[in-house]
């Protein structure tokens, strides 16, 4: 059981500060959504958590340990990342890519044995990507590749998972499938999951808690109902009167109305939250 924690962390690149004095936690068994406008620093947070960039100040802790103090291999065993737009070598097959997820568990001289193969294979089964196994990366679509990346992080068998826009290219069916899968695993295996999501409705539906980032700090944190409010959305995104209540489960949902750019009148059937 692994805890993801950021304590008073200030993050940036070189001299540019992107986020100041950030503190939050993701506990085992909970799925936290990271939301905010473009460029607010979601990817930066994910990079900092996976020790790609060092924090300018403050601490980043995984399971109570400072991530800058543990070895990369150790870190990779605890934390898996699904990146947003990764470069994948086009000459490898899908299965080989998923198999790479086993790397943190293999020593220098070890080759992937039957155990590793089976784990990777099962990961592909869970994500519905088995049919792609023999195909080369160059032949796959963006959505298929995204499925593979999820399979890879599952094969990595970590206790904490970071996802950076995991469903951006997927159709609605696949979105439900993948996020449902992640949610289930989160619950079953007590994983700490942090997902940066663009789609606010998905975030609301699948995440236990949301963290809304704006202007370099946390604008709001809490349950979806607490965070997705008309004020928050208007303040952060500048979109007025977009928050309604989902007819099926009472969670907030965000609907936009193109209109002529002005605020739309509330519909009688859907009441404002």
């Amino acid at each position: 059981m692994v805890n993801i924690e950021m304590r008073n962390a200030t993050l940036g690149y070189g001299r540019t500060i992107v986020l100041r004095d950030l503190s939050f936690q993701v506990r085992p068994g909970e799925m936290v959504g990271l939301i905010g406008p473009n460029g607010c620093g979601k990817s930066t947070i994910i990079r900092a958590l996976s020790r790609i960039i060092p924090p300018h100040s403050g601490k980043i802790l995984l399971d109570g340990q400072d991530v800058t103090k543990i070895s990369r291999l150790e870190l990779a065993r605890l934390l898996g990342v699904v990146p947003q737009l990764p470069i994948l070598p086009s000459a490898f097959t899908a299965f080989e890519i998923v198999l790479m997820g086993r790397n943190p568990h293999l020593g220098l001289f070890q080759y992937e044995g039957p155990k590793e193969m089976t784990i990777a294979w099962q990961a592909m089964e869970k994500t519905g990507t088995q049919s792609l196994a023999e195909r080369r990366i160059s032949e796959l679509s963006g959505g298929e590749i995204q499925g593979l990346l999820i399979a890879r992080v599952l094969a990595q068998e970590t206790k904490a998972i970071l996802l950076d826009e995991p469903t951006a290219n997927l159709d609605i069916g696949r979105q439900i499938e993948i996020l449902g899968l992640i949610k289930n695993l989160c619950r079953q295996d007590n994983l700490a999951v942090l997902a940066a999501l663009h789609d606010l409705n998905l975030a609301v539906q699948y995440c236990d808690r949301l963290i809304l980032i704006n202007n370099g700090h946390i604008h709001a944190e809490g349950t979806p109902k607490e965070v997705i409010t008309a004020e928050n959305i208007a303040e952060v995104y500048g979109a007025e009167n977009c928050v309604y209540t989902h007819p099926s489960n009472g969670l907030p949902c965000v609907l936009l109305n193109a209109g002529d750019g002005k605020v739309a009148k509330p519909n009688d059937i859907l009441k404002e939250a």
Binding site: L73, A76, V81, P86, F92, E96, M100, N103, Y111, W121
Partner: protein, 352 residues
């Protein structure tokens, strides 16, 4: 649902067969190349001489001493050295290509060749009394030149704790150009010493001796072993550096280790025979076309293919227009390029 993973398509079996097959082919090519030369020696005699040199084998010589000298002192060291250099350049090329994730990378990309050339030319220009330091000041200085120029490029390209790959390439190309111009200048003003320098620059395996092969061997062996150990991490490195780090690879350390090992190999290879082009860039690609890009197989297959290729190229170089010798760089280009084009056309698939 399917429980057992269909690993047959990982093609491990066919690749392992490939390695074994190439090992046998290498042995055959070594014997073939040793049996052919400008002096006719019956094949049986060649085989007998070679067998008699194996440890624990006692054969009473039925052949002339000159034949034994030719086979064992002239041809065999040449063949062995050609094999070592071919293997070294091929695996160094494959490593650079994997390290830089760039199909155009070759062992000379970051200035190794020019550094070695500069060292060699300086060695030639030193007074003759220096020349007999050890087995020769020229290979020593070439070796040092190669290492030093790589070290300079490495320090130039470093940004904080990271080594951005594109910066490394640019620094290498720039330094290489600078060194090459210095070399040209030195050659022009070298006067009568130009013979020796041109001989080295023209890259030939003639006059190869056992002492040269013996010195090159440990460096190549060490470098090859290190690189082979890093094969799996090198696979993971084909993802971008961020992902590789997220999968537990210490990217900076891996870069340093691979760079050092590949440079060591290249420096050893060029120090005695000068710069032979084409092998380092094309052999890894040819291997990829046939056997795929998994470095655990790509690297050893490159070693074997590179050795076989250069031994055969050297054989052609010394027999095609006998008694004249064609510079081996010409052979590698003439023979290699069309073959590679042919492979590319036959297998129109993505290789990188």
């Amino acid at each position: 649902m399917n429980i057992t993973p269909p690993i047959h398509f990982l093609r491990w079996r066919s690749r392992i067969y490939g390695i074994l097959g190439l090992l046998v082919l290498l042995a055959a090519v070594v014997i073939l190349a040793t049996a052919i030369g400008s002096v006719q020696i019956p094949f049986l005699t060649t085989s007998s001489i070679l067998i008699s040199k194996l440890p624990l084998v006692e054969l009473t010589p039925t052949w002339a001493a000159t034949m034994e000298t030719i086979i064992f002192e002239i041809r065999l060291p040449r063949v062995i050295l050609a094999g070592l250099v071919g293997a070294a350049l091929a695996i160094a090329g494959a490593t650079y290509q994997g390290l830089f994730r760039n199909p155009l990378a070759d062992p000379y990309l970051i200035g190794v060749a020019q550094g070695a050339a500069l060292g060699a030319v300086i060695g030639f220009l030193l007074p003759p009394s220096w020349h007999s330091v050890g087995f020769g000041i020229i290979p020593l200085l070439a070796f040092i030149g190669a290492l030093v120029s790589t070290a300079v490029v490495y320090s130039l390209a470093r940004v904080g704790k990271t080594l951005p790959v594109t910066t490394l390439i640019l620094a290498g190309v720039a330094l290489g150009a600078l060194l090459a111009s210095i070399v040209s200048y030195l050659i022009i003003s070298s006067g009568e010493k130009i013979h020796g320098i041109m001989f080295w620059l023209m890259s030939s395996f003639s006059l190869s001796q056992w002492s040269e092969a013996v010195v090159v061997l440990p460096y190549v062996l060490l470098g090859v072993v290190i690189i082979l150990l890093c094969a799996r991490p090198l696979n993971v490195m084909q993802l971008d550096e961020e992902q590789a780090q997220q999968l537990g690879i210490n990217v900076e350390r891996l870069k340093l280790v691979l760079l050092a090992a590949a440079t060591l190999i290249t420096a050893a290879a060029v120090s005695f025979v000068g710069i032979i082009g084409f092998v380092g860039i094309i052999i890894p690609h040819a291997v990829r076309l046939i056997w795929g890009a998994d470095h655990r197989f790509l690297l050893p297959l490159s070693v074997l293919t590179g050795a076989i290729f250069l031994i055969l190229a050297d054989l052609i170089a010394r027999t095609a227009l006998a008694p004249a010798e064609i510079p081996i760089g010409v052979i590698t280009a003439i023979c290699g390029a069309p073959f590679f084009l042919y492979l590319l056309r036959r297998r129109k698939k993505v290789i990188f």
